[in-house]
Structures are given as C-alpha cells and as structure tokens.
C-alpha cells in the first residue's frame, strides 16, 4: 500500500514539474517599479569579508551608494560559478534590478543566458569577453600598477629573488606576473621572479604555505595574485617584505607590507549607473587603466625609501601621460626569443590571451 502511494506521489510530482516547467514565463516587465529608488545588484564569488576581490567590488558598491543616494543596491555573496549563478542572476533580474554587476569570470555563460531572457536589464560582467546588446564587460589594466609594484620590489630585494604566489595560470594572472617582472627588471636586471601556483583564488592556509615555500627558496619580497592576506602574513613572520593585491593590506602585515596594486571600481560603477539611467549607455568592453583611476598603486609605506617613491611616481606619470605602456618592446620570453620588437606594443587582443612568460620569470605555465 505504502509503495503504491509513493509511486503515485512521485508520478504526480513529475507532472507538476513538467506543468510548472512549461507555464514558466519571463516576467521582467513587472520590474518597472513604483519605488523611487533605482535598483542595482551585485553578485560576488567570495564572501564580502575576504579582504580581497569581492571586498574590492563591495567597496565600489559602497562608493556608488555614497555618490548616488537614490540608488538601492543588493548583493549576493559566495555564489559558485556553476549552475547556481544563473539562478541567482535570474532572481535578481526578477526582483526588478535595472543593472546587475556580475563580478567573476565564471558567471559568463550564465550572464549571457539570463541577459537574453531579460532584455530590459543591463548586465555588466567583470573580466569576461562575451557581450550582447545589454551585456557589457569591464576590467582594469591591473598590469600597470603591477609593473610599478615590480619596481618597488626590485628596489627592496637584497637576495634578488622575489616570490610570486599566483592563483591559476590564466591570462589575467600571467599578464600580471609579466608586468611585475618587467617592472622589476627595469630597475634591477639581476632580479628574478619565482612563481608558485596555488590553483585557488581563496584559501588562506594554502596561500600562506605557498608563500613560505618561496621564502624558503630565498625570496625576500613576496607578492601575490590571491584574494587573502595569507602571503602577507607569511612574509611578516619571516621578516621579509610583501606587496599585497586587491586592497590596501597594510593592517595584516604592518612590518612587511610595502604597497599593493589595488582596484578602485567605485568611479566606474557611478559612471555606468548614470549612463544607463540617462539612456546613453552602450554595450562595450571597458578596460580602464591608471589613467582612468580604476586601478592604482596603494600608498607606499615608510618601508619604501624616498628614492623609490620618486622613481615610481615618474614611471606612473610616464604610463598616464604618454603612449608608452608596460608591454612595449623589446620583450623576450623565457627562452630568450624576442616576442615584442623594439618600439612595438602588444595589442589588447594579445594581452587578453597571453600564455607565455617574459625573461626573468622562474616558473612554468602548467600544461
């Protein structure tokens, strides 16, 4: 009897599922709200308290709210990059948000799918490469402040070995390592940059371990492309120096921290929201640099000497004011082959798909 009942119930459930499945309608038009507040939303891949990537976006959101008090912003944190993101995006679109900022690369497919269903909602996807009428991408030329931080590191190192804790061998990270190395080499030709991959964005313990292995290998300055201050702490514990990432990390390692290439999303968010509201917004692939203020080098601490500070200021001015950019020839790869001819520059396309290391990097891009 009981078995039969179960059978009938499960059959019913299938029917309900199919029925509700077919009758589903897109209801974005309901989102024309009567609220005076303009609704925008953010989804983050990590927790906002990570002191890293998600935190930097949240700081941008806070900036937006301060600048535009009539904007209402919701966020959802710790959204995995699999099937969950599509549901979360849909939910946010359903809830009447006009603009949704998706702040991780892995949301790309989901953003494209949901954007098709909600043509009236604007989706802004960070670090991706797919666009649509209502989907734009945005990112920053983080390699520029990375280059500057390389200068700082190379001036500081005594052993001429700089450790680099890196997340995944993807173009964004490789680009950063290369820029950093070029910066270091520009002031200290003997410097080498040792790279260790962690295969994680967010794992305090693992990142710290990776930094320790670099310190053991002779590095006396540590930098990172990771979202936690773990490597900073490792450097402080072994009386080495450190360069952070994402945000000012001085509080985590006051005796080691020199500076950090940081994100500053706030102004871009304000501009975007204003443009969408005014109806002047157009889909684009935004890739701002030092000039636009979306990336920056955080203020250098007293551990950096005045000469270096002046040098960095000069280099920064060169990037902002002239056509010169970090990846201007001559640049050789690890085997010594010339990759960029004298006076030539890499195109954005080439930068975005970078898969080789410059001379001076010790490490391998995992095959």
């Amino acid at each position: 009897m009981r078995k039969k009942l179960l059978g009938v119930m499960s059959l019913l459930m299938v029917l309900v599922m199919i029925f509700t499945g077919c009758s589903q309608k897109s209801t974005a038009d309901e989102s024309k709200t009567e609220d005076e507040k303009y609704k925008v939303a953010f989804i983050y891949v990590g927790p906002v308290g990570d002191a890293g990537w998600s935190y930097s976006h949240d700081a941008g959101k806070e900036y937006l709210l301060k600048e535009m008090p009539d904007v209402e912003a919701t966020y959802i944190e710790s959204v995995p990059e699999g099937s969950d993101s599509e549901r979360v995006l849909t939910e946010l679109a359903e809830k009447g948000n006009q603009i949704i900022f998706a702040t991780s690369f892995g949301y790309m497919d989901s953003v494209m799918n949901v954007a098709k269903k909600y043509p009236d909602v604007t989706f802004i996807h960070c670090s991706g490469y797919k666009t649509d009428k209502n989907v734009a991408t945005y990112f920053g030329r983080m390699y520029q402040p990375r280059y500057l931080s390389g200068v700082v590191a190379a001036k500081k190192t005594a052993s001429n070995v700089i450790g680099y804790v890196a997340a995944y061998p993807i173009p964004e990270v490789i680009r950063g390592i290369n820029a950093f190395t070029l910066g270091a080499k520009s002031v200290n030709p003997d410097a080498v940059v040792k790279v260790v991959w962690t295969n994680t964005w967010y794992d305090p313990a693992k990142e710290k371990e990776a930094a320790k292995s670099l310190l053991d290998a002779g590095a006396d300055v540590i930098t990172q492309h990771q979202d936690t201050p773990g490597p900073q702490q490792a450097a402080q514990e072994q009386n080495a120096f450190s360069i952070g990432y994402n945000t000012d990390m001085s509080q985590f390692a006051p005796e080691a921290y020199l500076t950090a290439p940081v994100w500053n999303w706030g102004p871009y968010y304000v501009d975007t929201v204003k443009a969408v509201r005014a109806g002047t917004w157009k889909s684009a692939q935004y890739w701002g640099g030092l000039k636009d203020g979306v990336v920056a080098l955080a203020p250098m601490t007293d551990l950096v000497d005045e000469e270096t500070k002046a040098l960095v200021a000069k280099e920064e001015k060169k990037i902002i004011d002239t056509d010169w950019d970090v990846f201007t020839g001559i640049i050789k790869d690890q085997e010594g082959n010339v990759k960029v001819q004298e006076g030539q520059q890499l195109t954005d396309e080439e930068l975005l798909s970078m898969d080789w290391f410059v001379e001076g990097v010790e490490g391998k891009i995992a095959e």
């Binding site: 299938v14 990059e81 939910e91 809830k95 490469y129 993807i170 995992a366």
Partner: protein, 364 residues
Amino acid sequence: MQKYLKVEKRNMNNQYGMFAIRIGGIFVALVLGAIFLIFSGHAPIDVYVTMIDGAFGSAYGVNETIVKTIPLLIAALGVSIAFRMKLWNIGAEGQIYAGGIMASGVALSFGDLPSLLLIPMMMIAAFLGGALWACVPGIARSFWGTNETITTLMMNYVGILWVDYLVFGPWKDPKGYNFPITAEFSPSAFLPTFGGTRVHIGIVIAILCSFVIYILLNKTVWGYEIRVAGENSDVAKYAGMNVTKNIILTLMVSGGIAGIAGMTEVSGVIHRLQSNFSPGYGYSAIIIAWLARLNPIAAIFVSFLFGGLIVGGYAVQTSGLPASVALMLQGLILFCVLGAEFFTGYRVSIDKRFFSKGEAKING
C-alpha cells in the same frame, strides 16, 4: 536530570510516527533558527517566508529546485547502492567529476552526431567514468582490505584535479582567451529542457533511475545478495555468495550512477566542462541517502526538499541576510533532522514515577 528521563530502545514500525518525528526535527530547527535570527537582528518569519517562497513559492522557484534536485538525486541513488552493502562510498563527488569528464570527452569529440545518439553515448561514458573511479577503491578493498571510506574520499581530489588539468590544459577552449573552460558543447550534446526553463530531461532520468534501482535492490537476485552482504558479510559468505566480486561490482554501479549525475550537470546545465562544476553534490548526496534511509523512492522527495533548502538559502540573501547566516540555517535544519533520527530508534520519556508519589524515593 538524567534520572527523570527514560531512554529506551524501540522498534518503530509506524511509518506515520517516523514521519512525524522528522517533521518535528524541522520544526525544532526553525525555532532554534528563529532565536538566532532574532539575536542577529532579522525577522525570522520574513526570512522563512522568503526561503520557502524562493524555493517553492513560484513556478520559477520550483523549477530551480528541480534543477538542483537532479544531480542530488542521482548521486544519492549512487551512494545508496553502496551503503546498502555497508560500503562507505564517500567518493560520489569524485565520481561526479569523472562522469563529467567522460561525458565532456564524448561531447567534445563527437559533437556532430545527432542528439539521439550522442546523449546516450555521453551517459554510457559517464557511467563508465564513475564506475572506473569507484572501481579503484573497490579493488583495493576486496584484495587488500583497504578502508574504502578513505580511498573513495582521496579519489575525490584526484577527480577534481583531473578536471582542472583538462580545462587548463588539453581541453582548454582555443577561443576562450586561455580561460580554464572547455569550448561549449554542440547543441546536440545538450539535454533537452522543458519549455523555457532550465529544467532538463535529467529529472526524468533521475526518477527513472530511482525506480530501476528500487527494483534492482528489492526484486532481483543481485539486489538480494547486496542486501544480505550489507546486513552481515559473514552470512553472505556462509550462504556461498562471492562477497569479493560483489564489493567491486557494487562500488562500480554506485560510482557509475554518481557519474551520470556529472553527465546531467555538464550536459543539462553548464554545457561545458569547467573547474569545480559540482558544488559538493556528492557530499550532500550522502546526507540525502541517509535521510531517505537508503530507499530510492524516498530519495526523490528528500532530494527535492534538499534542493529547496539550497535554492531557498540563496533566496534569503536577497533579503539582506549574509551568506553565512543562510548557510547556518541550512546547517541547523540538517542537524535537527539528522538528530531527530535518534528518536526513531529510541524513546525518551519523562519518568512518571518521580512525579506521582514524590515522597517514596530511596535513591543512593
């Protein structure tokens, strides 16, 4: 205190009583959660309404819950088979990844084939992948007595890292700007969906699997052997069953089915292979299998509720609750429901004799 309570074993055969106890567990969880929410400055009723509404309150919510149910259910069915034989297959997560790899391999290599051919091929490949993943611990257990709890768990990491290797290396999308994902499958490798929703045919596969496995376990010769060996392997040997062979076979079928969960996920939802494509379905499956008491039919409902718990957890975030509180609520509900299981096996009651005639008490 202890003196005033009686704790006694009981044989509960009353299905309604069991059901009531579990519902009671959920209720306790909600009350505890409410207290916590009040202290953290949230209105509990609002949070619960948002949660239930998010998961079951709309056609969309139900659809999304079903999307979650699919991998959870299939993986739970997989582990149930092994658990029936008291083989602690904790490796469903790795088997999901192995299944995902194999299915993706087929999808990427034979993208030109029509759906009707390609999808069954992917499914078979996924089954073989999961089976292979579980077969390694199975052989180790049968021949050298290694503890399969540990080996299956270790195989999880191997599976997860294999996916990383493939998407960073050989299978990287050539047009993907070096990002760690494979190219999108050709549409013929997509599982068909219902209407405009994300609910895909995987739900039919999953429910079909439930019934097939129910019949397999309860009506067939092989299922009989698994049940006997699961109750007591000494009895199985005494009855002349080949326990060694059955350990490997059972683990392989268990892993193979979990592998299919990987296939439905890459083929039905993500449409490509990428790192960490399963957010721990294989681990949730273990809890589901237990809550369903290893009954494949009950697993359908438990998975659906579990899917709702996950979907609802994200929904409450939109009402301003931090993700950690949402996770805490999910954990609390699970804890209480699992805790309630105790009461299905034991009776706790107030010892009335202490309150009837209080004066006659001569305890040491």
